[in-house]
């Protein structure tokens, strides 16, 4: 069974369109490459009820992982860990290991602890704080039934650093899956004309994901075709994708001639 993940991005700035959710797409890309299927991305505001309901719903779908981003900082509207505690039915308590991390960060800057700073060390009972090599708020790892929850900061370089240094290793240890991909482009054939051919190949290769991306106009069509599949054995994954791609290309050529081209670097 392929491991699954739901991403929950917390932050009003995402709901008012002030910030584009690049954290979610960055994580989705990394998780896909680690063999994990991202099933859902959910954005909620800095609202305790919204956060805990959203986490509760996600837990009920029993994904292997839930990764939250945002809401770990020192301000009144950083509520992710409190929301997680409610969703899990656990107390929010001062985590001494997290407090030590926060304290050391501020000491190194010649600063002392304040109530707002101590807040960043309050985590659901049973949480394991994860070291933040870039910022001050520690991340948190919490196991709940068959799901592992990672609560990461919302600042991209902090989130990325903690993912790269800690989360990614743990995820790839659990997941034995490899991804194989294949892309090409079709010039001069409309997407609606390719649709029945793609459907046919999809039926014959149900394990391969095939997606057409129109990049030109209906009048001057340029369609990118992307295929991928996952398999524990990288060689098998590559073979499966190649077979589907070859079938698709030969059917397109049969109907439309020499319209299949490689995708130029940097234009994918």
């Amino acid at each position: 069974m392929q491991l699954t993940c739901e991403i929950i991005s917390v932050g009003n700035e995402l709901l008012i369109g002030k910030v584009v959710n690049t954290n979610a797409s960055w994580l989705a890309d990394k998780l896909t490459k680690l063999g994990v299927a991202v099933k859902k991305i959910i954005v909620v505001g800095d609202d305790l009820d919204e956060i805990f309901l959203c986490v509760k719903e996600a837990l009920s779908r029993r994904p292997s992982f839930i990764i939250t981003t945002g809401g770990l900082g020192p301000t009144y509207d950083d509520k992710t860990l409190e929301g997680l505690a409610i969703a899990l039915g656990r107390k929010l308590t001062l985590n001494l290991k997290a407090l030590e991390m926060v304290k050391r960060k501020y000491e190194s800057m010649g600063e002392s602890l304040t109530e707002a700073r101590i807040k960043m060390a309050k985590m659901p009972e049973g949480a394991e704080p994860l070291y933040n090599p870039v910022g001050t708020a520690p991340a948190a790892k919490i196991s709940y039934e068959s799901t592992v929850i990672y609560a990461l900061p919302g600042v991209p370089r902090e989130m990325e650093a903690i993912f790269n240094e800690t989360v990614s290793k743990e995820v790839s240890l659990s997941s034995g899956f490899k991804i194989a991909e294949h892309s090409f482009c079709v010039i001069g054939v409309m997407e609606s004309a390719l649709a029945p051919i793609i459907s046919k190949v999809k039926e014959q290769h149900p394990e391969v994901y095939i997606k057409s991306h129109p990049k030109g106009t209906e009048e001057k069509p340029l369609i990118h075709i992307y295929l991928n599949t996952f398999h524990k054995d990288e060689i098998v994954a590559k073979r499966i994708v190649s077979e589907a791609a070859e079938k698709l290309i030969s059917l397109v050529k049969e109907s439309y001639g020499e319209v299949v081209h490689p995708i130029e670097e940097g234009k994918a």
Copy 2:
């Protein structure tokens, strides 16, 4: 009561991190400026069950609007309208007005209708097709109890054109709200030091949204502060935000001196 909206973005490309969900942030920005509160953004894959469950859950929260993007095209994995039909308990039927739109588009290109093209005109019963000035797939508007659903295409320039030419007018007719905003930056004070001041002002002005965005490092802090509020009367909205901003600025200056600065253009 402020109008509310949930955005549902459909597409596997978003879940594998191949595409950043700029559609959702573009819509969130536009809706916020039209006085609508975006409560949730949800990304699901091109999977019929996922789509209809997600729409059903969103409907149960009774938002004023649900806007979906993606999944209206001619290929086998374009399933949004079918998912909507299941969620609403309605049949998916050939919409003659939509068929006429699709037919005219292809006729203008010297093309005839095919099964894949006719598929784009199959909509839930009672749907009103919305003209797509850029592409071929019509959008759809569906009323269900107190919620209006807009199903828009996933190609950004098509989605934006239909929103700008049709949806935005309908939304602003329903919503009488105006937004007032205020931004400034604080240089040389850590976010954790500003947190208690922001909390205090937030308590005194609960109707104002106040958000701090750390842009520097903990060692060289540069914090952007953003405030907004909504009100039917634009002048009242501006007054409410100004009062909260003035209070916040004066408290910051009291504690830290001349650390408040305007945000330079293009650096927001």
